[in-house]
Amino acid sequence: MTDTFTFPILSVIIFVPIIAAVVMLFIDGSRRDLIRGIAITAAVIVLALSATVYFGYNSQVAAVDANQAAVTEVGGVGMATQLFADGLRYEENVPWIESLGISYHLGVDGLNAPMVLLTGMVTVAGVLISWRIDDRTREFMAFFMLLVAGVYGVFVAIDTFVLFFFYELAIFPMYLLIATWGWVKLRQYAAMKLTLYILIGSVIALVGVIAMVFTADAFFRGDGAQVFEAAKQSGILSQNAGTFSFNMTHLMLAGEAGAYNVLGYAGVDVLTFAKIWFPFIFIGFGVLAGVFPFHNWSPDGHVAAPTAVSMIHAGVLMKLGAYAALRMGVQLLPQGAEVHLPWIVFLTLINVVYGAFIAFRQRDFKYVIGFSSVSHMGLVSMGWASMNIIGMTGAGLQMFSHGAMTALFFGCVGMVYDRAHTRDIPSLGGFVKRMPWVAVAFIIGGLTSMGMPGLSGFIAEFPIFQGMWAASENVSLTIGSFTLTNYYSIIVVIAALGIVITAAYVLRVTTQVFFGDFKDELYPEVGDIAITDRIILILLGTPLIILGIYPTIMAPMLESGLKPVLALLGGG
C-alpha cells in the first residue's frame, strides 16, 4: 500500500449503484422519470468508470507482461502467486475483520477487467430496456441497482469472503425482480428454482472455501512456515498478514506450496484436500454457469425474468459462475483441477450439444435463447478444461462475447415481445419489415453465436477448439484400471457438431421471426423501435464486431490474467 491517495475506482463502481438505490427509495414512487434519470445516470457513470478500468488496464498489459516474464525467469515456489499478485491493478486493501483474516480487498487483473466492462455495458442496456416499466418503477430500479452492485463486487473481489458477500448480495434482489416483475405464468416457480439452485451451489462452495482457509492456516503454521515468511519478505503477502486469511493470494500461495496436496486427507491414504474439494467448489460455482446437470434453473429463470434481468442474468451472472469456478476452483486448487477437469469436460460437452438440441425444438422465442446460453456456457467450461493457454484464452473471450451477444439476444426478444405480445415463434413472421434494426441486430448476434469469422464468436470458439486439440495428447482419464487417452479430440469433434445445431436453430428462428410473411392483421401495432432501444442494440452489437475484427483488444489482456493459473497447471 502506498501512502499517496489513489482514487478508489472499484469501490466507487460498486457503491454508485448502491447509493443510487438508496436515493431512489427516498423519492416519491410516482416520479418515475426522476427515478429513471437517476438509474441511467448511475449506470452511465458505472459504465464510464468500467471502461476506464478496462482501457486503463489494457494500457498496462505490456508492463504486466514484462514483469511476468521477469518473474518467470526467477521461478521458484510462489512464482505463480507472485504473477497473480503483480498483475493486480486498481487495488484496494483495507482490513475489515482482522481477527478472522478478512479484508476488503479489491483488484483487477487481465481476467476480470473484461468482465467489468461487460457488466457496465449490460447495466446501461438493462436500464434502457426497462425504461417503460411503469409498475413500481422505483422498486424495480432500486433492486436492479443492487443486483449490479453485487455482480461488480464478485468480479473485483480478491478476498474470498468479500466475494461470497457480494455473491449473496446479488441473489437477493434477483429473486425479487423475477418474482415480482417476471412473466406471470412462471415467475414464482422460476424465481424459487433459480434462487435455490444458486444458493445451494454457493453454500457448497463456501464450505469448501472455509475448509481451505483452515487447511492453509494449519499449513502455514506447520510445514509451510518458511514459505510464509519468504512470501512476507518478498512482498507477496503484507508484513502484518496472519496465517489465517480469506485472501485469495494467501490461499493461492498455500496451494502452490502444496498445502492442499498432502496425502492422507480425512484419514484416507490416497486422498488429498484438493482431490476431495475441487469438484464441490468448481461445480458449486459451475451451477451458476449452467454446468450440466445443474443447468435447469437457467432457461426457466431467463424466460420468467423481465427483459433487463434476463440480460444481466444470462449476460453477466452466468459469467460470474464461470469466472468464480476458475478463480476459486482452478486457481486455488490446481492439483484438483488436473484430476477432475478431465471428467468434468464430459459435462461441458453435454452442455454444448444438449443445450443446442433443446433450443432447436423450442417454440418459445425466449426459451430458444435461454437454452442457447446453456449451450454456449458449456464452451466456456470446456475452455477451462483444456488447461492450456489457447483454450483458456478462448474461454475468456467467449465469456465476454457470449455476455454481450446473449444480452443482445434477450434485448431483441424483449423488443419483439413488447410489441407483438407473444413469443410463440410460429405465429411471428416477417418482422424485418417493421423492425429492421432488431432483425439486423439479431442476425449479428446469431452469426456470432454460430462462430462466423469477423465476429467475436469465432475468435472465441476457434481457440477453444484449438486448445482442446492441443491438450488432447496431454490429458488422460483413469477410471479404475481403465485409462482413457486422447479423447479431447473426439470431444471437440462432437462439440463442433453442436455448433452446427446452433446454426440450425438460429437460422430457423431468424427466418421464422423476421423473414417470411408479415401477418398484418395479427400485429397491427408493431412499429419500429425507440431510440433507447437502438442505443441498446448498438451498445451490445458493436463490441461483437470490434472484437471479431480486432481481437488484440482483449486477447493479450486475458492471457496475462491466465498466466498465473497456467503457471500452476504446469507451464502451459
Binding site: F357, T393, S489, A496, D517, E559
Partner: protein, 774 residues
Amino acid sequence: MNLNDILSNPDLLPWLIPVGPLLAFFIIMLATNRAKMVPATSHEYGGHHPDYDGMKVPVVTLQSRILSVTVGMLGTLTAWVLSLITVSNAFGAQHFGEEVFGDRLNWLATGVGEFTMGVLVDPFTTVMLIMVPIAVTMIFIYSIGYMAHDPRQSRFFALISLFAGAMLTLVVADNLLLMFVGWEIMGLCSYLLIGFWFEKESAYKAAIKAFTTTRVADVIMLLGIAYLYASAGTLSFRDILYNEAMLEHLASTPAIILGGWGLSAAGLIGVFLIIGTIGKSAQFPLHVWLPDAMEGPTPVSAMIHAAAMVSAGVYAIIRMYPLFEAGGNPHAGEFTTPLMLMAIVGGFTALFSATIAVAQNDVKRVLAYSTISQLGFMMAALGIGAYIAAAFHLITHAFFKALLFMASGSVIHGMEHGEHHVHEHHAHDEHDEAHGHDDHHDHGHHFDPQDMMNMGGLRKTMPVTFWTFLLGGLSLSGFPLLTAGFWSKDEILADAWLGLTHGFGAPAFVFIMLCLAAFLTAFYTMRQLGLTFMGEPRTEEAAHANLGQGIVSFTMTLPLIILAFLAVVAGFAGVHPDFPLFGAIFSPEHNWFHHFVGPTLLHEPASIDFSIVPVLFSFGVALGGLGLGYWMYWRKPLEAGQPDPLVSILGTVHPVLKNKYYLDELYATLFIQPSQWFARVVVSDFMDHGIIDGVLHLIARVFTWIGDLIKNLNIWLIDGVGDGIPELIAIFGTWFRRIQTGRIQQYMLLVVIAMIVIALIFAVSSGFLVQAAG
C-alpha cells in the same frame, strides 16, 4: 506509409484488392441505401413479391439505385484494376513461384503462437486474379439490368459487393484462417442472397438449407484447421506447403483419431479439409443445397456457381494440395487417404449429378446439376494428382458456367417479360369492364418461367442469348478443339488415362466415370438448348419472350458476349505442345498454363507425354453426346403438349432421376426427422423435463413432505413443549400457591428444609460424603 507506396509495392498491393468491394458494401449499406414507402399494391413493388393490401412497403428510390449501382461498380472495378496490376507484376517477376508477393501481420496472439493475417500472390493466385474479377465484373454489369425493377436493388448490390470482397479475400489470403474468414462470409452472403426474396417460403427454406449444409462441412473443416495448427504450429500456406520437412513430419505422424489404422496426421487433416470442400463445392453427399439455391436471383446463381462459392471449395483443396499428397505419389500409384477420397467422391459425383441433370426441366436446375458434375471433374482430377488440369478446368469452367447462368437468366427474364405481356393482354380482354383493377395474382394461373417445357423457339426473339448460350453450352460439352471446355477436360482425361495405362485403380475409375459423365453432359446440354431455343414456341409466353430495349437489354447482353468470347479462347492457354497443329500454334515452346502455374508447388508437377487415345475419347464422348442430343431434340423439336421423349425411353428410371434419387426425402427421413425427434422427445421431454426436472421436483416433493412432517412434529413436539412449559408452570404455580400461607413459622420450616437439601447437594457434588464414607 502513403497509398502510393502501397500501390507501387507488389508485396503490399494484394491487401487492397478486396478493399474496394468491401468498402462498397459498407457505403451502400450505411449511406446510399435509401427507400421510400409506397403502397404494397403499387406497380413499383415488383412482381416477385406477394401483395399486402393496405400496407406500405419500402422501395429504393431512383437516386439510391443509381448511387448504389455506381458505388458497387466502382468497388468492383477498383478490385479489377488492382488485380490487373498485380497480375502484370506477377508476369514480370523472375522465378515467380519460388519468389512470391506477400505480406503478413499479427492478428490474434495466443501465448504459444500467433495467428497471422497476410496476403500471398503466387502463380495459382495470379490465375485466380485473372478469372475472379472478370467474372465478378460481368455479373455486376448484368445485375444492373436484371435487378433494375427490384425494390431492394441497393441491398442486392451491397450483398454481392460483400460476396465479391469475401471471394477476393479468400483468393489473396496467405493462410487458412483468413481464407476461412472469406469462406464463411461467402456462406453468409449466399444465405442472404438465396433468401433475397424472403417473402417466398421456398426461398428462405433454400437459404437455410444452403447455410446449414455448408455449415456442417465448414465446422469439420474448422476442426481440420485446428488440428493442422496444433500439429504444424502455423496456418500459413507457404510455411506448410512449401516446406518439405513439415510435410514429411505431418505425413509420418499418426493421426489423433484412427491413427492405429495407418492414418497419418496429414491424412486426417486432409480428410477434414476435403469434407469442408465437399460441402462448399456441393459434392455428393452434401450437394443437396445447390439446386435449391436457384431460388435466389439469377446473378446470384452465377456468382455462387461460377465465380465464387463453389469455386472456393475447389480452390481451397488445390491450394492445400501438397498436404493431401504428402506421404504418397499419385503418379507412382501411391494414393493417400485424402487423394482416394477425392477421386472416389469426385468421380462418383461427376456421373451421379450428370444423370440427374438429364431429367430436369427447370432451366437453372440443369445448370446447377451440371455445376456439381463439373466440380466433380475437378475433385477427381485432384484425386489422381492432375493438379494443373484441375486448376485449368476451374478457370475455364468459371467462364462458361457464369455465361450459361447469365444466359439462362436472360431466358427467364425474357419469359417473365412474355408472361407480363400475355397477362396484360388477357386482363384487358377478360376483366375489361367487370373488374376495374388489374391484378394478375388473382388469376390463379401459375406459370413457371423457368420450365423449359414452356419455352421453345426463343432463338428468334432472343438471338444474342441464343448464340452465347450455344457457345457456353458447347464449351461445357467440350466441343472439340474450338472451346475452352474441351482443352481443360481433355487434360484431366489425359492424366487419368496415363494412370490407367499403368494399371492404377483410382485413375481407371476416374477415367470411366468422367467419360460417361462427359457424354451425358454433352447430351443434356443439347437437350437444354433444343428445348429452349429450337422449334416453335410451346406457349404464348414464349412467343412474346424478349429482353426489350434499352439499358436492361444492353447490360444483360454485353456480359454474355464478353464471357462467350472467353469461353472459347481461354482454353488455348493450356494446349499440350505436342497436340497436332494446335500445339504448334498456341504452345510453341511449352504449355503456358502448366509452365506458369506449376511453380506454385515446391516440386513442379511433371508434364505428361502426349497421347492420342484420351483425345479420341474426348472427341468421342463430346460428339457422341452432342449428336444424340441433336438427334432427339434438334432434328424434330418438341411441340406444344408433346411429352419429353426421354420419359418413355428411360421408363421407370426417369422419375428416379427427376426426383434426384429421392435424396432430399432420404435426408429428411434419415437426419432431419430423427434429430428433431431426438431433440423433442429424448433431450427435451425425457431428459430435461423428465429426468432432471423430475428429480428436482421429486426433491421438492420430498422436501415438502419432510417440511410437512417437521411442521406436524413442530406442532406436536416443539409447540407441545413450548406450550407445555407455561402450562406446567401454571400448574406448579397453582400448587405452590398453597404454601403461601402467610405464617412465618411455616416459612422458617421451609427455609430449614431448603438449607438441608442444598447442603446435601453440595456435599454430594463435592464428594464430601464419599470421602466420609471412605
